[in-house]
């Protein structure tokens, strides 16, 4: 109906205008910039070139970084799901007082500045840090574990940062599932585990997909944590882009990398949405 069309435009208009004027327009400037050449001392050139993209996509060094970034994103997302589900279930099942406490404890970590928080992790994870000292003291290990300046450190840090996002999206998603539907599966002789995977998870999939996309996107574009807990040996797209942009001042190359990353991420989001739409095609939109 034309009426609903008008209402729709009115609703989406302000946000769209903001994004068009505030994001897409500057991005177009950047897109043009990514097609310029650059050399140290001369700065940004005036010639058009595709070399910035060719350099990235034709070089195993970059491709490896891209793959590593995506792998990191997937691992972090998966871990957030694995840890997020029990926590969300706990929050839904526990009494009101503990529920509020738990929710606050989920929100707290978000409030601590990311740089400062990374410092906290360094104190905990370093070879002579709290965790290693405790394990050594307890005699559980004989040499300190390598928890930092490697993949483990980045994952521990990123999962902690993005877990709240997952949990806060899983809770309402699980909450919305009609109890009778799960009960019906139980009476059809499904164990609780099976009910969880065949009924609960599919019905919570809008929230799961949203949470996963969010965590994935955030962890592939995270900068500070990989920097501080991963160290330079563990390079990801975000650190590479930052260095290219801010340290080398090579904006064209940095912009090209940024577009490659964005394109990949949007493609993945699109695919995930497709999958979600397929999985939830029975659920009224």
């Amino acid at each position: 109906m034309t009426q609903s069309r008008n209402a729709g435009l009115g609703l989406i208009g302000p946000a769209t205008v903001l994004i068009l004027a505030g994001f897409l327009a500057p991005t177009v400037i950047m897109a043009m910039l990514s097609l310029r050449d650059y050399s140290g001392m001369q700065g940004i050139g005036t010639d058009w070139t595709l070399s910035n993209y060719i350099n990235v996509l034709g070089d195993w060094f970059y491709l490896e970084i891209i793959l590593r970034t995506l792998a990191l994103g997937l691992i972090v997302t998966l871990l957030c799901l694995i840890l997020g589900f029990p926590l969300a279930l706990y929050i839904l099942r526990v009494g009101p007082l503990m529920q509020t406490t738990a929710i606050l404890l989920v929100i707290f970590p978000l409030l601590c500045n990311i740089v400062v928080r990374s410092f906290g992790w360094m104190v905990l994870l370093s070879p002579r840090g709290v965790i290693n000292e405790a394990l050594l003291g307890a005699g559980l290990i004989s040499t300190p574990l390598d928890l930092m300046f490697n993949l483990t450190g980045v994952i521990i840090g990123l999962v902690q940062i993005y877990l709240p996002f997952m949990v806060l999206l899983l809770v309402p998603a699980l909450q919305n599932i009609p109890a009778d539907v799960e009960a019906a599966a139980l009476t059809l002789r499904s164990s609780r585990i099976r009910v969880f995977f065949t009924i609960t998870v599919p019905l919570a999939s809008p929230g799961i997909i949203t949470g996963s996309i969010l965590v994935f996107v955030l962890s592939i574009s995270a900068l500070v944590t990989p920097r501080m807990l991963g160290g330079p040996t563990y390079r990801v797209m975000a650190t590479q882009i930052y260095d290219e942009f801010m340290t080398n001042l090579n904006w064209p190359s940095g912009a090209a990398l940024a577009f490659v990353l964005t394109f990949i991420a949007l493609a993945l989001i699109w695919a995930a949405n497709r999958v979600a739409a397929h999985l939830t095609r029975g659920i009224p939109a």
């Binding site: 050399s39 140290g40 001392m41 001369q42 700065g43 060094f61 410092f119 360094m122 104190v123 370093s126 070879p127 002579r128 840090g129 930092m148 300046f149 920097r227 501080m228 160290g231 330079p232 040996t233 390079r235 260095d243 942009f245 801010m246 340290t247 080398n248 001042l249 090579n250 904006w251």
Partner: protein
């Protein structure tokens, strides 16, 4: 009038308030608006605003200053407006007088006195100590990393035009290196917990950490520490140029230089400054002559390649 100054934050910002801002404000009556950031951010901002910067004065490392000057984003400095220009060390002005150095720093050696009964006196100490697993190196993302690469090249018979020996030497010890640091915090906490015994680092930061109780001391290698010029520039678009000159000039005066050296262990560039105590040990004025200052244009032109190579050969 307002004077917008882009300066570094944290303890640096506090020292700059004491030594640079306060005296200037009392003397001129202008109000300083300090915006905190780091060199690369200032460089990006000056470039992004394309010759119409908000800043009147910017503190910035000379490599960025040289880059910005080359892109025509900085005002050429009129020495006649800087009363202290004659008192400065040689080479304080650079890039056709587009920047003026107000502080020198260096990449030298920081070590744990407990592990080194006699202070190390050569870059080779880093390579020798690698086998203990208690060495941290600066990553090439920062200035110290570039400098250490140069130092390693020079130690092994190369120079700024031939870094192969440097890459080879570092690649050899790379597997034993405890960590590549990018942030001051990382190295402070590693020294504090005794995880490392030696690392190339900045004397001023190391001295400040030592004051705070971290077990760390500074040594200048005999081959020469790699010098850093920290500069002030006046970007194009400055609205209070007179104020800017007055501010820079004030920062170059002997008392202010001394104040800053004592507060921040900033190497003084005014030849009239004499230091005592901790400051004299951390940034001895006589050391200035022994520093190796690499050519910023060569760095600017090649550093991207070096970084790529470092990432592929050292920190892969």
């Amino acid at each position: 009038k307002d004077l917008v100054v882009g300066m570094f934050g944290g303890s640096f910002g506090r020292a700059a308030q004491t030594c640079h801002v306060k005296p200037f404000e009392t003397a001129s009556g202008d109000a300083v608006v300090a915006q905190e950031g780091n060199s690369s951010q200032f460089a990006a901002m000056v470039r992004a605003t394309g010759g119409d910067s908000d800043f009147d004065v910017v503190y910035i490392d000379n490599s960025f200053a040289a880059q910005l000057a080359a892109e025509g984003l900085l005002q050429g400095l009129d020495k006649s407006k800087l009363s202290h220009s004659g008192e400065l060390v040689e080479g304080a002005f650079g890039a056709d007088d587009h920047f003026v150095q107000y502080q020198w720093g260096a990449t030298a050696l920081a070590y744990n006195p407990a592990d080194f009964p006699t202070p190390p006196d050569s870059w080779s100490a880093v390579f020798d100590a690698a086998s203990t697993g208690k060495v941290a190196l600066p990553d090439i993302a920062g200035t110290a990393g570039v400098h250490f690469l140069l130092a390693a090249a020079r130690l092994n018979g190369g120079d700024i035009d031939n870094l192969d020996p440097g890459f080879a030497a570092i690649a050899k010890i790379a597997p034993q290196v405890k960590a590549y640091y990018t942030q001051a915090d990382q190295i402070i906490s590693m020294f504090e917990r005794g995880e490392i015994s030696i690392a190339p680092w900045y004397p001023d930061r190391a001295a400040a950490a030592a004051d705070a109780g971290v077990p760390v001391a500074v040594a200048y290698p005999k081959e020469g520490a790699i010098g850093i010029k920290v500069t002030m520039v006046i970007p194009k678009g400055s609205e209070n140029t007179d104020g800017a000159y007055a501010y820079v000039d004030n920062a170059l005066s002997a008392e202010v230089q001394k104040c800053f050296a004592e507060n921040m262990y900033a190497g003084p560039v005014n030849t009239n400054v004499t230091l005592e105590g901790a400051a004299a040990k951390a940034v001895p004025p006589e050391m200035f002559g022994k520093l190796y200052f690499p050519d910023p244009t060569k760095i600017a032109a090649n550093v991207a390649d070096w970084r790529q190579r470092w990432q592929r050969e050292i920190t892969k």
